[in-house]
């Protein structure tokens, strides 16, 4: 591991990496909408060899008692064993839980979804938005790819028809009504290895991470969620540098949503 790290740091000092990219360069990103007709909204994101799909299921439910005038949001991630030989079947582990929670915060805290508009009948019936993220092929940086996929699936979503009993009618065609989306947050994860910074790590590079910072950013440039990971600490200067890298790259990520 030490040898691989030395090798990568040497390459990074010349601003290059295993696959020829510059340190702060993303792989090619493509976003495909409407890949699952069973979902109310869905999308596939390819970031280089990494492939993630996200689906949105919209159900009716009751609001939480402390938020009677808000719809419900749930984000879940499945690191499918189909996508990486290291993943195993079973309930979500630490990595999947962190992934889902960081996407959740990016969406919730940016007020990306105007949850007040998801109320059907105050205190009684609201729309519940369930986002499920599934990894298909993990070649690194699931976090940023998952956030993009989740946002794309939300943009693709159409509300189901409502019955007079305030239930979703899945036998009927979906309505044309989109979700009330106010913002388009994206997440950029900046990696620190040695004294070098990079983004969009490959799996081999993820194995060498000393510290990482995921920054969720709105189109206004405000920061709406943060998550530090990795074993080593960061200095305040590191954090400033990482946030500014994320802010510089966020617009190009957002542009891939079309």
């Amino acid at each position: 591991m030490q040898e691989q790290k030395a090798h990568l740091l040497k390459a990074l000092s010349k601003n290059t990496r295993y696959d020829g990219r510059k340190a702060l360069e993303y792989r090619q990103i493509t976003v495909e909408y409407g890949i699952s007709g069973s979902a109310e909204g869905s999308a596939r994101v390819r970031m280089g060899g990494t492939e993630v799909i996200a689906g949105v299921k919209i159900e009716t439910g009751t609001p939480y008692s402390d938020t009677p005038d808000q719809g419900n949001l749930m984000v879940n991630a499945e690191l499918l064993p189909l996508s990486n030989p290291r993943y195993e079947s079973g309930p979500p582990g630490e990595k999947a839980t962190e992934l889902a929670r960081v996407v959740d915060r990016g969406i919730r805290e940016s007020k990306c979804i105007d949850v007040k508009k998801l109320v059907i009948k105050s205190g009684e019936h609201v729309w519940s938005i369930n986002i499920d993220i599934c990894s298909i092929n993990d070649e690194g940086n699931l976090q940023d790819a998952s956030m993009l996929a989740a946002i794309a699936a939300l943009k693709d979503a159409r509300l189901p028809k409502l019955t007079d009993k305030f239930e979703a009618d899945y036998d009927a065609e979906k309505t044309k009504e989109k979700l009330p989306l106010a913002r388009t947050p994206v997440e950029v994860t900046v990696i620190k290895i040695g004294d070098q910074f990079l983004v969009d790590p490959l799996v081999d590079e993820e194995d060498l991470i000393e510290a990482r910072l995921t920054v969720a950013i709105t189109e206004k440039g405000t920061i709406c969620a943060l998550q530090k990971g990795g074993e080593l600490p960061l200095s305040v200067e590191d954090i400033e540098k990482m946030v500014s890298i994320a802010q510089k790259l966020a617009p190009s990520l957002r542009n891939t949503l079309g």
Binding site: S36, S42, L80, L82, N130, I136, D138, Y170
Partner: protein, 232 residues
């Protein structure tokens, strides 16, 4: 009652339009996608690899382990909670039995060949689509096989035998759903289940027709495998 026209307008023995692609998940040792109508199955094979827990190891042979999973948003209606169910447990077992007869895992004692099947979108016929995709993925992984495995649901809707049922036919009150897996070269049946009600004559007709339909699926599988190895 007479079923004169299928809900989606197909001929009674007509399969839905099929798509197959091999090598769709580069991280896996073998992988494939199979689509029939709106049902899509991805299969990834990992192994032969070490099997844990150790007590499950068999010193005589490698074992085949299937993990069939519907993505939470893939169902008709509400979200499907992730994680196994009684249904998926049984499906894992019948898929394993459908595939095992063509595999020679004796060469790999104490190991496991893991097959993961994921469905992003479903419209009935998922276990059959899973088998078709898994067979291609196993071939892609270079596991020794005597034959491919093809599968399709036959069934009855009112007075007609139909093939490759969609959700509306599958859930029709007066009918039967019969998933069948066939080894295309020997013609042997490795999966046979049914729910619903059917006469012995119609059952025979259904299985015979499924066997003929499987030839078409076999061609689609072969083409996809050829395309995969032509591009290497």
């Amino acid at each position: 009652m007479s079923y004169t026209k299928r809900f989606d307008g197909r001929g009674f023995e007509e399969l839905r339009s099929m798509k197959a692609k091999v090598g769709v998940i580069p991280r896996a040792d073998g992988s494939a996608m199979f689509q029939t109508g709106k049902t899509i199955a991805y299969a990834a094979v990992y192994g032969p690899r070490d099997l844990h827990p150790k007590f499950m190891q068999n010193p005589q042979t490698g074992i085949l382990r299937i993990n069939y999973n519907m993505m939470p948003f893939s169902g008709h209606g509400e979200r499907v909670r992730p994680g196994g169910s009684r249904r998926s447990k049984e499906i894992n077992m019948v898929i394993q039995n459908a595939l095992l007869p063509v595999l020679n895992l004796k060469e790999y004692p104490n190991t496991v060949v893991d097959v993961f099947v994921e469905l992003p979108q479903t419209d009935a016929g998922t276990r059959c689509a899973a088998i078709v995709a898994a067979a291609m993925a196993l071939a892609d992984a270079g596991i020794e096989m005597k034959d491919l495995v093809c599968a399709v649901a036959a069934g009855r809707v009112e007075d007609k035998v139909v093939l490759d049922l969609d959700y509306y036919e599958d859930s029709h009150e007066d009918g039967a759903d019969i998933p069948v897996a066939i080894l295309p070269n020997s013609g042997k049946v490795t999966l046979l289940q049914m729910d619903g009600e059917i006469s012995p004559e119609m059952l025979k007709e259904a299985i015979t027709k499924a066997k003929i339909a499987c030839k078409k699926i076999y061609e689609v599988q072969k083409e996809a495998l050829k395309a995969r190895f032509a591009t290497r």
